[in-house]
């Protein structure tokens, strides 16, 4: 699976006197199994780029081809199905459903795919054990630490066997130890299962661990380096 981005632009408030050009004519290709960090100052367009790759936002112009399918042409319903089946999301604030246990949070996204309860339960248990939460899986998020919640979020992102995982500043709210543990898990999954990870970050600890770093400034790609 590859992601081919061509002449991608996003302008907010297009009709107003002060349009905001979040992403400007971007060309980029990300191959299967990459571990990519997108860095740049606040407001540089990192999150907008991730949102457009993940099918959350639609570009003003250009295309995002996922295995040759332009997701920018999909309607709302098809985009939801695309996200459900092909993209895993990890959010900065974990964004777990507070009333569900860790296990149920992971099961929930698989149930949206229509998988049986038994299959969901087995895979969710397996993933939570893999991220080191085998003993904590029946706890609700409020009973888990920030690091543990983010690990649940990783398990949730991986549960539907996505083609790639988008992580928007996943370590922003974590301490050094939790950050390191989370990166270990993500890196291990990337290496063992070949899952593509794309994350936006300011965190130098994360950038050091990335295999490829894309630097963004003022909506433009200014640097793209392999590490």
């Amino acid at each position: 699976m590859s992601i081919e981005i061509s002449q991608l632009s996003k302008t907010y408030n297009q009709e107003s006197d002060f349009p905001v050009h979040a992403v400007k004519s971007l060309d980029l290709t990300i191959e299967q199994g990459e571990f990519v960090a997108v860095m740049g100052p606040s407001g540089s367009g990192k999150t907008t780029l991730l949102n457009m790759i993940g099918g959350i936002d639609t570009p003003t112009s250009g295309s995002v081809l996922i295995d040759s399918e332009n997701i920018c042409e999909l309607d709302d319903k098809a985009l939801i199905a695309f996200r459900r089946d092909h993209v895993g999301f990890i959010f900065q604030d974990y964004s777990l459903l507070p009333v569900l246990t860790a296990l149920e949070n992971v099961e929930f996204v698989m149930q949206l795919q229509g998988l049986s309860e038994k299959v969901c339960r087995a895979r969710a248990s397996e993933l939570l054990t893999m991220v080191g939460l085998g003993e904590q899986m029946h706890k609700v998020p409020s009973k888990l630490s920030g690091g543990q919640q983010q690990r649940v979020a990783v398990a949730r992102a991986l549960a539907p066997r996505p083609r790639f995982v988008m992580a928007d500043e996943p370590t922003a709210n974590l301490d050094a130890k939790s950050t390191s543990e989370l990166l270990d898990i993500m890196q291990s999954l990337n290496e063992k299962e070949g899952t593509t990870f794309i994350f936006s970050t300011h965190d130098q600890r994360v950038i050091k661990r990335a295999k490829r770093v894309i630097v963004f400034e003022d909506g433009k790609l200014t640097e793209d380096k392999q590490q």
């Binding site: 936002d57 999301f89 009333v99 149920e104 949206l112 539907p160």
Partner: protein, 411 residues
């Protein structure tokens, strides 16, 4: 999973959920109590009034309602009334009474007055309306009597007493003269002056002789086992008798009463909707708040693949749970109270009670215990919930994913 999620979401704000449900319960309690009391007293009044005069249903000659003439009659035979006395109608018809109702001029000594003559089967009429209890002097008539009962006001006007003679003069069947001389066997007191001043009761055979109707009657008075059955029985009677008989229900027979009840009911229903309207705002505020404060959460759910329609379903289920809790608590509180007052009606006292007693009615306000009343309230609560849901659902449907994920809660 959606049901589990919805149920657990309710208890994130326990106090808010319970207060909203309790507000619904209170509205349901007050509305159901009020409506049960209203319908109970309507039923009681209609039943009392029907027994006293018109019956719940009447079979009449198709011309009679317009003409009120002794020319427009129905057979008074057992054969004719067979559809009423045989299944499937018989289990629902508790009484069927033949009557002659006509006008006559009554005179005694030096005075005369237009009167209403009721020819009835005394025993059956008494078991239906308890008319013998209204006797203030003399004895009740029996089927073969040649004597009559008169209202107290009429007796006073004509200056007659027990054993005195009364001449009735009028027009009989097919233009014949109806005239007869009858002794007064009893004097009845009716609380309604209009009746007290003009009613004469006599055995139906005697009335048939007076008006030369043979075995014919002006109407068959019917009573059903419950007020709810009137419409159904009427429709079956119409089918059974066809166009040769006019089947009239109590609304047609007592239009003033039907109108009064309709107006009273409209007032009650207006109050009920007012009450639900006030509670509805509370419900609306809760549902809207539940929707707006979770935009980010909804955004995450949509991002991870929840279809918008399922998101709307989740909100609807949560609201449905609140309504269900409200209805359940409301019914748990209301049903025992209404059931108690159904079997132990509120007793009236003072002048109102006295007036009702004089009319031969029990001085009570009974409560109606009816599934349809309960069902109506549940429907109203669910309808209210649906209305309250429309705007929050619309807001949820048009959530902008990017804004929601940024946490723009009220965008």
């Amino acid at each position: 999973m959606l049901f589990k999620l919805a149920w657990r979401n309710l208890w994130r704000q326990k106090r808010r959920t319970l207060l909203t449900a309790l507000a619904l319960s209170l509205a349901l309690f007050l509305s159901l109590f009020m409506r049960s009391m209203q319908e109970g007293s309507y039923e009681n009044n209609i039943d009392n009034s029907a027994r006293f005069s018109t019956g719940l249903l009447q079979l009449q000659n198709p011309e009679f309602s317009e003409s009120q003439s002794i020319e427009d009659l129905l057979p008074g035979t057992t054969d004719f009334i067979t559809p009423v006395t045989a299944p499937p109608l018989s289990p629902h018809i508790t009484h069927h009474l033949p009557r002659i109702e006509s006008f006559a001029l009554a005179s005694a000594s030096e005075r005369a007055k237009g009167v209403m003559v009721f020819g009835v089967e005394p025993e059956r009429e008494n078991s239906y309306s308890g008319i013998a209890d209204k006797l203030i002097a003399g004895e009740f008539i029996d089927a073969d009597d040649k004597q009559v009962l008169v209202g107290e006001g009429l007796a006073r006007f004509l200056s007659i007493k027990l054993g005195d003679e009364l001449v009735l003069y009028g027009q009989g069947y097919r233009g014949q003269t109806a005239a007869g001389l009858y002794k007064v066997k009893g004097i009845i007191h009716f609380p309604l002056a209009a009746m007290d001043n003009q009613l004469v009761y006599m055995p139906i055979k005697l009335a048939q002789t007076l008006y030369s109707t043979g075995e014919q009657v002006t109407s068959w008075v019917l009573h059903t086992d419950s007020l709810d059955m009137v419409a159904e029985v009427k429709s079956e009677l119409v089918q059974a008798f066809g166009s040769k008989v006019n089947v009239r229900d109590w609304q047609q027979l007592s239009p003033e009463m039907a109108q009064q009840i309709a107006m009273d009911k409209a007032g009650g229903v207006f109050m009920m909707y007012l009450l639900y309207g006030v509670v509805g705002f509370g419900l609306f505020a809760t549902i809207l708040m539940m929707t707006l404060e979770r935009q980010r959460e909804f955004g995450v759910m949509l991002a991870t693949g929840l279809l918008r329609r399922k998101l709307l379903g989740l909100i609807a289920i949560e609201s449905g749970f609140i309504a269900l809790i409200g209805v359940l608590i409301g019914l748990i509180i209301t049903l025992p109270v209404v059931t108690y007052f159904h079997y132990h009606p509120i007793q009236l006292t003072g002048e109102t009670a006295q007036l009702m007693l004089e009319m031969g009615w029990e001085p009570i306000i009974p409560m109606m215990l009816s599934f349809s009343l309960v069902f109506d309230q549940v429907k109203i609560v669910l309808g209210l919930m649906f209305i309250c849901l429309l705007y929050p659902l619309w807001r949820a449907y048009r959530i902008d994913l990017v804004s929601a994920l940024k946490g723009d809660s009220y965008g």
